[in-house]
Amino acid sequence: MPPGICNSDLNGRTLNSDYSGRSFRVLPFRQPTGVRRLRVLSELKVGESGILTGLDLPESVQNHLMHMGFVPDALVTALRRAPAGDPTVYGIDGMEIALRVETAKAIHVRENLPADTLTTEEQELAGVGQ
């Protein structure tokens, strides 16, 4: 790895390189092949998981959530709902994070397919291989 290069592309994938805090756009993701139902996080039933595809939130919130682990290709599991039905606790990277429904609605996920249809890289990121 050459030293000090900004935005070294570890993934072999083009990432938004000039993130200056102003013009953040949702990262480009591989287009789903075949029939993959796109959903939002709030639709996950307790016990279901999904693969995160994008966040549609104000930029500062989005950045904060991403640093808490809500990054594209991460595996998110709906763990439990609060006694009043909202917020919901989500498991991500082994952490438990509670979100209200309106935030969860703005987080896009795709279905978590069986591990064998995922690429190795995705398995890694989703933590399936662990």
């Binding site: 790895m1 030293p3 000090g4 935005n7 570890l10 682990g69 990054v71 006694p83 917020p87 935030t103």
Partner: protein, 637 residues
Amino acid sequence: MSSCCDTPAFQPPPPPPQAGTLQTIVLIGPPNAGKSTLFNRLTGLRQKVANYPGVTVEQRMGLMAGVGRDDLTLIDLPGIYSLSPYSEDARVSIDVLKGKMPGTPKPDAVLLVLDSLHLTRQLMLAAPVLALGLPTLVLLNMSDLMEARGGEIDTLKLARELGAPVALISATHGTGLDAVSLFLNQQEARKAAQPLSLPVLGNAASTHTWAAQVSRRTGYRAPLSAESSRKLDNILLHRIWGPLLFLVVVVGVFEVVFSIGQPLSDGFGNLLAGAGNLLRPVLPAGWIQSLVLDGAWKGISSVLVFLPQILLLFLFIGVLEDSGYLARAALIADRVMRTTGLNGKAFIPLLSAYACAVPAIMATRTIENKRDRFATILVTPFMTCSARLPVYMLLIAAFIPNTMYLHGFLGLRTIVMLGLYVAGFVAAMTTAWLLKSSVLKSSETPFILELPQYRMPTLRSLGIRLIDRARVFLRNAGTVILMVTLALWVLAHVPPISVHGGSYAAPELADSMIGRLGHFIEPAIAPLGFNWKIGIGLISSVLAREVMVSTMGTLYGADPETQALNLQSALHHDLALGGSLALMIFFAFAMQCTSTIAVVRRETNSWKWPALQFVYMLTLAYAAAFVVNHVTIALLH
């Protein structure tokens, strides 16, 4: 400002500091990673620690005396997720870390504390922190728990990946801390390896990819998440059992405070009275004896007797905070918060206000939205803080019969006490709703709350909490309360009246300065069922609520008619049930605390908010006390 291009590409890292020039070390890491616990270990100080994110909201400095290096200053900082500030407390951390905080020295070295239970995600912070180019020691905290739960990490490989030394520690148990001294010595001898150049990462996604790769290459195996944590949540966050258990626990605590705390307090009170009586023969009879025993000692001991009960309450709050239940309670209460328009995060400061409003108001710094934060600050003083406890305890023990219901499981005194807590909470929520639907209206900000894993509170940390709390209580008794009681005693004994030629005697209480002042304000408070002594108490207790009790102690002690009685029976002398209930509700609502006023002024940076708050709370308190007094009188007739 993003983390990316603050460090321009190709610029060589700044040279390591000269030998012996290490002065300031900062502790940085994600929230709830254990920075403050480590800070306490390294400095020997007692910074507040608990098991939820956002306990530390400002920088704290201390000398590293705990590892024999009191020539070095250690700065403890609020937790951060990234180097882009999200809330007020995070901004402080980032400014201090980058050396941009006025008045705080630039850091010479960094101790990066990461929670080894969730290393993959925690490593996301390592990249931007290491990229700052400061000498850094990476400390993987809670390593004892990680190993116990079957986790693994190759620290050597990780050190090679990060280009910085890595050590496994447990801040709670104090293991592995010699790595810190070693690191400091090495830095001073300039023996430390040049940090490797890390990829400068542009955004969260690439940082995450990097962190995931590093943790894989270093053989990190995440520990199994504690099964017990999940199982506990199955019950504590259960749809029905969760809220029910919460209620049972709260009622249980008040029962304990009364059934166990009351005898303890009575015993303690007898002890204090006995100590006073021992002094009586020693002191010269006359005004000195009267000043020391009937003035100061009676006033102070009337407050001191409540120490056992306050400590019981703090023990309970400590268990809640250290176990990790507090964050769950916030989750249960979020629905209520939502209807009022308050940010869900407001619940944690509001809950900690049951101990004291001052730290609670400071804890609102974790609320990102400014309007939400102000609304929370303005309603926090309604929460029943521990300083109200002596007032409630005194009045309840004096006026509410000890009737038991439900086969002795629920006492009338507990019900009244619970009612006062509920009254405060309802007032807070209603006010919040009023504020959020008018002057402090704002678009809803998202509620993002990290739930910590449950941990067994250690006896050590609970013990430290109780000792610290007892110390604060005693210090207050020795300063504010002592001053007020002495001033009251003097005012109760001037102007002296001359009795036959040359000798002077104290005036009748009603004719003294304090009596005249009391009678002057009496018309204003008479509709509430308060006598003039209570009026004086209301004025003096603006300093701090418990001063009310000491004032009563001194004034009834100075009155020859009630001098011989204990305070509870003395109150019956000129206070009726209606007045006593009104007094309780007055204290539930009024903002009788100069420390709170000062902290609100500091946090909102204006006198406008505390002034508004004081007037609003006083008006509400007066109105409620008026209604309670008159309703009680009507019901009794």
